[in-house]
Symmetry: C2
Subunit: 357 residues, 2 copies
């Protein structure tokens, strides 16, 4: 049905197969640091308006690929589409991040939640995936994604971002059963959502556990890890040859790398708070690793960016028995609006040039 | 000169000597969660106005001790008094945290910085320490403190709090020599400041490396750890019998516990992102450990608080060959204004009751 893939470095790296150079993409590569993105957004009016119109989501997804020789595209969307479709009503306040009009705060509200229908309530996402695949025409693979069950729950209970996660942690302490019920329906929804994105054409899938790192180890092992594991296991049972590799990304979760490597996921996304070589040693070739430059490196001058890129590439190889296989280059977290597109070009070129063999 | 200490549990624990029960104090125990604090602040007008008037700083320091049987008092002050005294002019905007009117952004501005005179420019701190010691009358030991060289530098360069630390990380990448010059003068100032607090009567000292955890390991080892080590080494050379034990607290720096335990500090403060038993195993009795309940535990119901307190106490003992020695109970980070004082009472009582022998 679709065009053969011209650049499969990213998928090969996730399978830990040899590649001619290390593939690279950047979290939030389609974003406000690009003038053409700001122009599209000005016309569309809002972030959510862009994400919900497949033509615009497609245009924005492709923008960074016109500038930089990136090895993957990632669907332009939000990590919170699922709770929005569950009826919580996502909205954005400038400078304050995402919020929900109807947060869920107790067992009764949680009991009313259900898995949204993917081809009606989240059809705009699937339409975007189909359109982007057509427009990409096999240039690079397309990554679909979702927030993790725990990270979705944070926003759903807090009603938005939080500094201390007081409400959801109080729920974890006082009514863990209610929280497990919430995480359980979120997990069902994430699995259905990622499977639907895969069916629509996504060639790899990433789960963002943005807030996994705010939990104590005991709470992480109770409220986040088991649900990530279930996602990995159930998506693995998917359709054989057509299986899209799964990447689990967590912020501040380097302490759980061994556990994440045992979930059955193909890749683990690593933030910049651990040496990539240490991460490679600890996971011992069981998964591909994706990361892990501090995004703030892009505030450095070009020579500093090149130096840090080489350091990260060398660190990975040193921890991976001298081989660059199984490494997808990325930042350790998303890009920021005030970053310089010229610096992104320097980063991408250096990854390819230095890793070429 | 001063009254003999009636409760030396805290100091004994820092020396890893046996105690009748585990000592406990809480970071930001003197703060807005207390109605009497809010009343004092209303009268004084501002946070900084309170910190700069020794009588008010003394009153506020003592407030939590009148409510709870805490085993230590901590000077009411700010971690940023040093750069304020260097001429950067600290001020606070409601809901935005600390800011500096004159941030330092280049080598020329850094070259103009000098170590403030402790008994003139920071006399209000030393007067507060002397007054609190007198008023405490030996009830419990008094802790003095400072921000770490790196954490001070973050605020000095960014001009306030930051989400991504873009400016200081750009300096680290593009002009590391300038940043080292800044960290060096900060370190000289922190050492002089802590020594002066000790001379004025502080019986223990804590350094807050609040932002150590935003750095990659390579940067942490270049820009934070060596300066913490210098502080520990130079304060150790202090006056024999009168030596005040030093605690190094870092947020998000559990990966460096081994390094911190080798600095020569007496105690290491641990956040809640590591099991306390693992921290004890990794430091192997070389230092006392202080921590590490997730502050959000105080949002839980009393029974949940008691359960988590017991878990932390047991975790420490399990990692410390069955012994509670060398543990100072604390939160893994500071308290928040919306916490319930009754819950603090539950926590403090449970620490003492459960650890009693």
């Amino acid at each position: 049905m679709s065009a053969p893939l011209k650049n499969d470095r990213f998928l090969r790296a996730l399978r830990r197969e040899p590649v001619d150079r290390t593939p690279v993409w950047l979290m939030r590569q389609a974003g406000r640091y690009l003038p053409e993105y700001r122009e599209t957004r000005r016309q569309a009016g809002s972030f959510l308006g862009m994400a919900k119109q497949p033509e615009i989501a497609c245009e924005v997804t492709l923008q960074p690929l016109r500038r930089f020789p990136l090895d993957a595209a990632i669907l332009f969307s939000d990590i919170l589409t699922i709770p929005d479709a569950m009826g919580l009503e996502l909205y954005f306040v400038e400078g304050e991040g995402p919020k929900f009009r109807h947060p869920v705060r107790d067992a009764a509200a949680i009991a009313r939640l259900g898995v949204p229908d993917m081809e009606t309530e989240l059809r705009y996402v699937m339409d975007a995936v189909r359109l982007i695949r057509r427009e990409l025409d096999g240039a690079v693979p397309l990554i679909g994604f979702s927030g993790s069950p725990w990270t979705l729950a944070c926003y759903m209970v807090e009603g938005g971002g939080s500094k201390d996660f007081a409400r959801i942690k109080a729920m974890a302490l006082n009514d863990p059963q209610a929280l497990h019920a919430l995480l359980s329906v979120n997990t069902d929804a994430v699995i259905a959502y990622l499977a639907a994105q895969r069916a629509a054409g996504a060639q790899a899938l990433q789960v963002f556990d943005t807030w996994g790192g705010v939990l104590s180890p005991a709470m992480y092992r109770e409220f986040s890890l088991p649900y990530l594991t279930r996602i990995a296991k159930e998506l693995e049972r998917g359709d054989g040859a057509d299986r899209a590799p799964l990447i689990l990304f967590g912020k501040g979760t380097a302490a759980y790398l061994d556990d994440l490597a045992q979930t059955g996921a193909d890749g683990v996304g690593v933030d910049w708070l651990i040496e990539l070589g240490d991460a490679a040693r600890r996971t011992g070739g069981r998964v591909a690793l994706q990361g892990n430059l501090d995004p703030a490196t892009l505030y450095g001058a070009p020579e500093a960016i090149r130096r840090e890129v080489r350091r990260a590439l060398d660190s990975y190889a040193a921890g991976n028995q001298g081989s660059r296989d199984g490494h997808v280059f990325n930042l350790g977290h998303g890009m920021s609006p005030d970053m310089n597109p010229d610096h992104v070009a320097v980063l991408v070129d250096e990854v390819h040039a230095y890793s070429a063999r």
